[in-house]
Symmetry: C2
Subunit: 203 residues, 2 copies
DNA sequence: CTCATATACGGAACATCGCTCCGATTGGCA
DNA sequence: TGCCAATCGGAGCGATGTTCCGTATATGAG
């Protein structure tokens, strides 16, 4: 093995002690379980207890609470980010694609207790969570939005960033206040986004 | 004085010691000042320090943080609640009245640092804040909404409660994330609320 | 197999919250 | 003036996120 064979360009975590990698996975599983039953605001101590490790172990693997949250939901984030690639535009119009993606995004946020709230919290450390979501999902939504606008189906003067935060915001309180129908309000927002004008060039 | 002369039906606070009433006002002023410069999440201790009183004094007058917040903003809440009475429908259509009230509501939330966030927080004690807002403002919004729907200008299948929480939610992050244009998204929501159908009987 | 050491672990400790409690203080009345 | 209940002040409690450091252990060399 020449030294150039494996010059760690990014230390992905392969070069760690065995128990370290095992504990990292244990922590992810424990955190996922606790998040489901106690929300993403669950105390760090509770996650540590669930995983059967000490506080120090958590903070070595995930420097801040937000990092742990991001790590737990990363694969679901990936799924949302791959959406366009997976279903570019088979049998649905760009507008329908936009709608269904937003619906999946909303489902994701509503399902995870307190995720939507945390996303917009100004609590120290949670900007990371916000940034992660924006980085991963904004390009996808932007593409969907532009496609729909290009088809003349939706307004072209709405920025993906605003829409993404708005949808995220509308999900807040969906479970705290059972009477609040977040999805209905998201539909209302999307209705406002739609244009009466049929495709300008197509007709 | 017959015992029936002043049987405190509701002790409005007139029957208190002088220093007590003075401190209550001092606290309201101090809290208002601190809220402006540090947001509604400012530590209670900081408000106590600003007012130059001890912790006990705060909690005697306002049993919980949320009560203090409510008290500070009560007169602004009153102004929003009186809106319809003040301006029933002079020179504007019911839809315009609805739009301008929502705009004032949004301005109120955006201006106060963190108020929108606090409104939807599931933190213990903040349900009071939520309840106060709903109790005071829901009737007003409901009336505006029904009037606009009756004029055929807006959809009739949207509940005032949902709309109120939605508008409140859309205000979240307006100052935490400077790029986010909350008012634009509120306009989008209201656009979705509007109906294409012109006033069926009026025109 | 033994041992040395870098690595990872555990949990006590710290700072910061909201909120409670109780002894000290003081306003208001006879 | 003097009493007493109402009020005040701030130490204290429990919870939380995060840091620190002494201890335990995985792992590669001999």
């Amino acid at each position: 093995m020449t030294p150039a064979d494996k010059p760690p360009p990014v230390d992905v975590g392969r070069r760690k002690r065995f128990d370290a990698r095992r504990n990292q996975q244990t922590l992810l599983d424990a955190a996922a379980a606790v998040f489901v039953r106690a929300g993403v605001d669950a105390p760090v101590r509770e996650i540590a207890a669930e995983a059967g490790v000490g506080m120090g172990t958590i903070y070595r693997h995930f420097p801040t609470r937000a990092d742990l949250v991001v790590a737990v939901f990363r694969h679901q984030l990936d799924a949302l980010a791959d959406a366009t690639t997976t279903t570019p535009a088979a049998d649905e119009t760009p507008y329908e694609a936009l709608r269904s993606w937003v619906a999946r995004f909303a489902d994701f946020l509503v399902t995870k207790h307190g995720l939507a709230e945390a996303l917009h919290s100004d609590q120290a450390g949670f900007e990371r969570l916000h940034a992660e979501f924006v980085d991963r999902l904004l390009p996808v939504l932007d593409q969907l939005l532009k496609a729909s606008a290009a088809a003349g189906r939706t307004r072209a003067d709405i920025r993906a960033y605003d829409l993404m935060l708005a949808v995220g915001n509308l999900c807040i309180g969906a479970e705290t206040f059972p009477d609040y129908q977040a999805r209905r309000m998201i539909d209302l927002l999307l209705a406002g986004l739609a244009q009466d004008t049929p495709p300008p060039s197509g007709q």
